[in-house]
Amino acid sequence: MKNIRNFCIIAHIDHGKSTLADRLLEYTNTVDKRDMKDQLLDDMDLEKERGITIKSHAVQLNYKFNNEEYILNLIDTPGHVDFSYEVSRSIASCEGALLVIDASQGIQAQTISNLYLALEQGLEIIPVLNKIDLPGSMIEEVSDQIIDLLDCDPSEILHVSAKDGIGIDKIMDRIIKKIPEPKGDAKDNLQAMVFDSVFNSFRGVEVIFRIFNGTIKKGDTVKFVNTKKIYNVDEIGILKIKKEPKDFLEAGNVGYLISGIKEAKEIKVGDTITHKDSPTQNEVKGFEDVKPMVFAGIYPVENSDYEDLRASLEKLQLNDASLVWQPETSVALGFGFRCGFLGMLHMEIIQERLEREFDMTVITTVPSVEFKCFLTDGTTIEIFAPSDMPPVTNISYIEEPIIKAQIITKSEYIGNIIKLCLDKRGKIKNQVYLSKSRVELLFDLPLSEIVFDFYDKLKSTSRGYASFDYELSGYVKSKLVKLDILLNGEKVDALSAIVHKEKAFEWGKKLCQKLKELLPRQMFEIAIQASIGNKIIARETVRALRKNVTAKCYGGDITRKRKLLEKQKKGKKRMRQVGNVEIPQEAFLAVLKIEE
């Protein structure tokens, strides 16, 4: 155990976490230069393209230092607020963390909240200033921010360029010397924590865990404390770039376990693994059963693809336990599924994975949160979708979820951000200067306002210099109404939204205007109306299509014209016929882009 170091990397998106991980893999010869590709640990295409880590990854590095062999377990964590619970469990599996800050960007909200998590767990923090070679780097200013935050000595901050491999040796040195060896007793009862699981279609779920105490052997019978499930350990091993089976693993180490588990949802991140016959008395603290925060309908474009969509969602759920769903019916869209997601990014990821991995073209409806509706008869119902809303006369009152939001920004954007949050019905709770030019703002905000275009607006109003983190803090009473949209007189239930009463009129108007832009002109006129109950509050008209021909000179360039038409056709593939009106996918999300 003396020679094991378990560490993670805390960094904001684009601050160079995956690149640094690549360099560490190279430096320790964990991967051959020849086999090296960028962002090696991010193995989903989506992760590579977006430069984000969606799932946790663990990899073992071997390193010789002062003639001693060391085992370094690097645990790569997701970098988005939607996955903050997974991050907290990864952090709890480590004794140390590299705090990677982009020298040209400075510290961001996500980084701070993860850093606090790491400090709470007592991790040794190694501050790393990355991208020091970039022309825009502000080494002194960002160093000051780090010093303020960690109360450390300037000499403790490592200056690194992960891209060019500068300073990697110093990081390795620091990891060995500063990060404490794991504590624990290999002879004690088994106490291990699940911090990730990976679905393998041939072998079932691979459970990734950290052992705090005891020893796990191949063939053992183990129990998962929270799910109370019992399994036979068919295989255990360590995680190199490929898995390496072992006969046993001891306290302090990180490894995987295979025991024919069929579905990812059987495994809960944060759960404790112990032996069935000699269980530990100490469950690993901090287990939470993560609940979805955002809900939206997912529908096939063609009704006949309903069963295929169900099969695809089932398969997705095999490796994404945080996705939940149940069948739902919409008058406009037919049969589909109401799905629960951890957050907006998670929702986007699921939609993209359905398309890429399962070739499903889907329509996603306006996201909603979970409202609590108290009825006049004294009962309470949960509302996940506008269609769940009972008639107004039956409602006593409604409660909506509130979050504690933390925003870190440059001082010059404070005004804009406060205005945005007030527009979103937020209440400012605190304002703290982290340095001369960086401010932390704390707000109470309704979660339902965050799912409507909050991120995009925050980004534009702060020119990208604001980072955002949140946690659910409770429910409060709120005046909410259901806003309906009618196309040529027919109510399109999938376009309905639950909005605050005071905003409803303006929303209705803007939504109609937005829909007018988004609905393709058809051979007849389309009336767009917004209503609350039976009252029409806004109207727009899409004129009938009269002319659509490219009468330009394009010579022998047949290809361009063909591709253009094919692209247009493809864009309309995701359209849904409601009554006689064709509605494109974007229209179902118009409410999100209402003020663009």
């Binding site: 009269r546 021909v549 490219t550 000179c553 360039d557 047949i558 290809t559 309309k572």
Partner: protein, 373 residues
């Protein structure tokens, strides 16, 4: 039965609507012509020894380079390809390049058709779209051409912001006095990477009102129809027997070889296009490399081409052609879509052919999009 297109990428000025590859730098005209000749030789077998029925000098402005260059290129083609005796050889020309000397030289070298870029006869609008000629020059050039050439075409643009129905009417009347056997009338289309696109984005100009454009298009059609012009493609009108053989080749999916920077070629299976950069084009050809990109057409792409081009012509989408060449029966496979389009009075079926109705003729992209596979 094939054609050769030669792209001459030079202009005096760039028109504000133009998104073709052209340059205002005339320093390397000589080198470019040499490179074009190299390309002709390198690709002499491209058309599989088929006889050449048409040659088309387009651009850019082929009329602004010395007619000797044009002569050299035609000579090079004749040396390397088998050329049909009644070949159509067209040159695109700007009114300000029409001198008697040019007209006679071109004729001597074999040019027998001139496509004149008049666009409009309104001096303000000519200035607005950044053409280098005025009305007077345009009229004089049409007159001169009509005196020396039997076959010529006038290019017009309708839907220019600021133009009006009645002004356009006068333009057409003035032009048809010279009895041009062919008129191409294009709708001003604002493409990315043009001055107009920029202006539109910055609210300097506004898109022309749709009703006005439709009015202008219908006006053109009505006048030309009365004067016995046949609309054989959405933008192309001609007197009987005066279809552009070269352009018809594109629309009938005949093979063609495109020479010069940014030129497109088609050999029946592949479509390819040359690099849109004079210097890189010249340096590649100096190394005897053809700087092009090609795309093999899948069955689906071929079907889509036939649909998209066919609906634009008076010949229509020929189901017999689709069945024999591609084993695709559009009338059977797309029955629902076709029935709906017929019901909307946008298309009709004449034996094996799908054709656009008058109402459909201004909704061709809508129809094509519906029918694409």
């Amino acid at each position: 039965m094939s054609g050769i297109y030669i792209h001459i990428p030079f202009c005096k000025k760039k028109c504000h609507y133009c998104d073709f590859y052209i340059t205002l730098n005339k320093n390397n005209v000589g080198k470019l012509i040499e490179a074009i000749k190299f390309e002709l030789i390198l690709r002499k077998n491209f058309l599989n020894k088929n006889s050449i029925e048409t040659i088309y000098f387009g651009g850019g402005t082929p009329s602004m380079i010395s007619p000797n260059y044009i002569g050299n290129i035609i000579k090079e083609i004749k040396n390397n390809f088998s050329v049909n005796s009644n070949i159509e050889i067209t040159i695109e020309a700007n009114p300000d390049d029409i001198s008697l000397d040019n007209l006679l030289k071109w004729k001597k070298y074999g040019i027998n058709r001139i496509s004149l870029g008049v666009q409009t006869l309104n001096d303000n609008l000519l200035n607005f779209i950044n053409r280098s000629h005025d009305k007077k020059t345009a009229i004089a050039s049409i007159k001169k051409i009509s005196e020396h050439y039997d076959n010529f075409s006038i290019d017009l643009i309708y839907g220019i912001p600021g133009n009006r129905y009645d002004k356009l009417k006068n333009d057409i009347k003035e032009i048809i006095k010279f009895n041009p056997p062919h008129i191409s009338a294009y709708n001003l289309t604002i493409e990315k990477k043009t001055v107009f696109y920029n202006w539109l984005k910055n609210n300097i100009i506004k898109k022309e009102n749709e009703r006005e454009i439709i009015k202008q298009f219908n006006l053109l059609k009505n006048i030309l129809e009365k004067e016995e012009y046949i609309q054989y493609e959405t933008s192309s009108f001609c007197k009987k027997g005066y279809e552009s053989k070269h352009n018809s080749g594109y629309w009938k999916r005949k093979k063609y070889l495109g020479i010069g920077p940014s030129a497109h070629s088609f050999d029946g299976k592949y479509r390819s296009w040359n690099i849109s950069d004079n210097n890189r084009y010249i340096s590649a050809l100096n190394k005897r490399i053809i700087p092009n990109t090609e795309e093999k057409l899948s069955k689906k792409m071929k079907i889509n081409e036939i649909i998209m081009i066919g609906i634009r012509t008076k010949w229509g989408i020929d189901n017999k052609q689709l069945i024999t060449q591609l084993k695709y029966d559009i009338l059977k496979n797309q029955k629902n879509t076709i029935d709906k389009l017929i019901n909307d009075k946008l298309i009709y079926i004449n034996r094996t052919k799908i054709k656009a109705t008058k109402k459909g003729s201004i909704l061709l992209d809508y129809i094509a999009e519906k029918l694409l596979v």
